[in-house]
Symmetry: C2
Subunit: 335 residues, 2 copies
Amino acid sequence: MRVDGKRVAIVGATGAVGTEMISVLHRRAFPLSGLELFASERSAERKLDTPFGTLTVKPFTLEAAQACDVVLLAVSGDFAKKHARALGEKGAVVIDNSSAFRYDPDVPLVVPEINGRLARGQRLIANPNCTTAVLVMALNPLYAAFGLEKVIVSSYQATSGAGAAAVEELKRETANWLAGREVGHEHFVHPIPFNVIPHIDTFQDNGYTREEMKVVWETRKILDVPNLPVSCTAVRIPTIRAHAEAVTIETAKPVDPAVARQILSEAPGVRLIDDPAANAYPMPLTASGAYDVEVGRIRQNLIFGERGLDFFVCGDQLLKGAALNAVQIAEVAAA
Amino acid sequence: MRVDGKRVAIVGATGAVGTEMISVLHRRAFPLSGLELFASERSAERKLDTPFGTLTVKPFTLEAAQACDVVLLAVSGDFAKKHARALGEKGAVVIDNSSAFRYDPDVPLVVPEINGRLARGQRLIANPNCTTAVLVMALNPLYAAFGLEKVIVSSYQATSGAGAAAVEELKRETANWLAGREVGHEHFVHPIPFNVIPHIDTFQDNGYTREEMKVVWETRKILDVPNLPVSCTAVRIPTIRAHAEAVTIETAKPVDPAVARQILSEAPGVRLIDDPAANAYPMPLTASGAYDVEVGRIRQNLIFGERGLDFFVCGDQLLKGAALNAVQIAEVAAA
């Protein structure tokens, strides 16, 4: 802890994203003068083993959290809607991981490598949807170089995107499946072991799920292209962490795969893994626990020809898709 | 067995597809007068429990197989290249599940619901790639009604597509993973438990895998649209059976999702499962073991507007993608 550092609060500190936030603050040596962990009454007073030692989780109170310099919200949208504005009233910078404020024109939606400047001087900043955050890390450098006409995404989303209990469900029910026991489900609408569920978040009137529309809305907002044609199919699969995405783009200018590869190899926060001869491409196996978003399988798309590119991305959605991005925003906003 | 029936040989009878062929012949009450099971020396003389009773698997000889009316090949492309033509020389109809003859202009590539007429009177007929067979079942009725300008596919492919031993690897290594033991891999290039591998079959010079190009080449041949713009990303995921695919199409004529739904609900071999309010959509959980290919998540695509459609298909690739389709071809060709 540093005397000249910031006092940081994490609300929802015991969840999948909250625990990663603690770890990321430590790994990135965020200049802390204090760390307050808050959770719901159910988890409060729990002792949490952290890289900063054993810390006690407190029940959330507006007053205690307001007193911090930075408040990281890893809670539901309802909770954020109720408290986020008030939390900033005493001067704290509030970074919200829920979707509550992402579509509010007055609230910046920030991925620091892309639009970090928007976070400066703000009281409330929204952290994007995890699938979108992973996608735009690869998309933005290509957009800057070649422009974008169309973006078509199919996702392969890990169970940890639905929280820590959902991961436990995958592990427990997979063990049941393998043992020939009955397979149950609670966090997922259907059994998840050895299954694929093309349904994340609620269905909208247009037949897309809200998760799919988040990718559309948030990609447009982060890239600042309000009418960018984007479509998505969001699919839950039986993996633990790191979302993968198959992406097809049509660009405005001709795009050479070798040049795209060069650009992505130099993009901050991106790790180019694209060596088919060595069986090297993005995978959850290698992307899990990593800060960088993996990009590979880069090839000229067969339909859009010289203005088309296919690629595969994989990124740890608890890190770049949530905790890491939130802490990176805090680094910019509280600087 | 029927006196007036056909004498059928299955070559590769002990593999994932071969064993399904035996079961499909029984379930569909194929008019058999005899069933000969052949396998490599390694598996030969094995007793196999089948719905027809316990049968002895014999080592393959050209003479014994040639004597049958129908020969179903569930073997490697190399084996098929070597023996398929000779097998038909005495009058047998040979149906090859490998890719050896699929791109031969003289050999029909048949999905009976689409182009079954091409199988009549032929000595050698190719059975399509499993991912393609599942795809075209949904694609063809839409093509007939609305035309097709573009087809973009991302697949979620089950381990049984790589054979019975690959499924055992998934089960065994998943158990190892859950027990905290070391996770190995032999049939897959990387460990498959809780992972995603965007690499099926070998890489081509254009950066696509051969599996992805099979979807392109075979969709064009089956629909008989030689230059149809198709692209695919083929991905192995940790499921047991039934390949799923997220599909975006641009049509030639405007397409109404409700009309598309109606058309698919009437298409033979297709089961429409598209009731988001009831959490009903295609999944491996329901498609495994089923003859029909499931189609759902039908919605107007956000990019192509009234000429665009998104949908999700899931079909048992060992059945419609292999054994069932081969037996259906035999029914037409040997009629």
